[in-house]
């Protein structure tokens, strides 16, 4: 037995349309994010196993608010120009050491500064 339903051919109400659109809008507003991610390489190396002479490798020690570059204290703003000077005088790489109180954010800040000098190879000293 087939039941014939009487179709109501009235126009769909605009209010329910708006309801659905608002729901969609709310969903996308709450569920979507705008943050974008980048990536930066990280690898640790044994401090002794460089194989290059020490004059070619600069040492960089990261502290909480400054960097000691070849025994000379440098503020972050001067680091790139200091590294450029070193590159001009024959340095090919940096060995990065960390003080104990350094956060990951700080490490990445300095790493992205060092990356601005593309001629330098970066090595990170393995933790003690």
């Amino acid at each position: 037995m087939s039941l014939k339903r009487v179709r109501n051919r009235r126009r769909a109400s605009i209010t329910s349309l708006i309801d659905v659109i608002f729901l969609l809008l709310l969903f996308f507003m709450l569920a979507s994010t705008f943050s974008k991610f980048s990536e930066i390489d990280i690898a640790v190396a044994n401090a002794a196993g460089g194989g290059q002479s020490s004059s070619e490798i600069a040492t960089l020690r990261i502290q909480a608010n400054r960097v000691v570059c070849n025994e000379r204290e440098t503020v972050d703003a001067d680091l790139v120009s200091r590294l450029n000077e070193l590159t001009a005088s024959g340095t090919t790489g940096v060995m990065i050491g960390l003080a104990d109180d350094v956060s990951t954010q700080r490490l990445v800040d300095v790493l992205s500064l060092v990356k601005q000098v593309p001629a330098l190879s970066i090595q990170i000293e393995e933790p003690s």
Binding site: I18, F28, S38
Partner: protein, 125 residues
């Protein structure tokens, strides 16, 4: 004057829908739906790095807890056991306040287990 006011009686609701549609399309196009992120993680902020990469990674919270795809892992060994291969890039997303020495210890452990290429993910500032 009076006549034009009368004619536009139904217009406000149409323009409302138009604007809501525009906002909807904006959020659909500009935003991206993300996998659930562990609560309380503050991503590392960095500028000037090459944009953009997928965000599937091993999260490391500031207290050292490992979280992968919303699931807390007991140890790094469990992570190594769960991933298919150490030859592909290992992606870490540590909290910005996580001590860097601890991060390096974990990187060292991953390298010791045979990982070739390890990257850390940073959020575009």
């Amino acid at each position: 004057m009076k006549r034009s006011f009368k004619a536009s009686k139904r217009e406000p609701i149409i323009s409302l829908i138009n604007i809501v549609f525009l906002i909807l399309i904006f959020f659909m196009v500009a935003g991206s739906l993300s996998a659930d992120r562990p609560s309380g993680i503050e991503f590392i902020q960095a500028e000037g790095l090459e944009c953009c990469t997928e965000e599937d990674a091993l999260d490391i919270l500031s207290d050292g807890t490992l979280v992968m795809q919303g699931k807390t892992l007991a140890s790094l060994e469990q992570f190594i056991a769960e991933i298919e291969s150490l030859d592909s890039t290992i992606r870490l997303r540590p909290d910005r306040n996580y001590p860097a020495q601890d991060l390096l210890k974990r990187v060292k452990a991953l390298q010791g287990a045979g990982a070739k290429h390890i990257v850390i993910l940073t959020e575009q500032a």
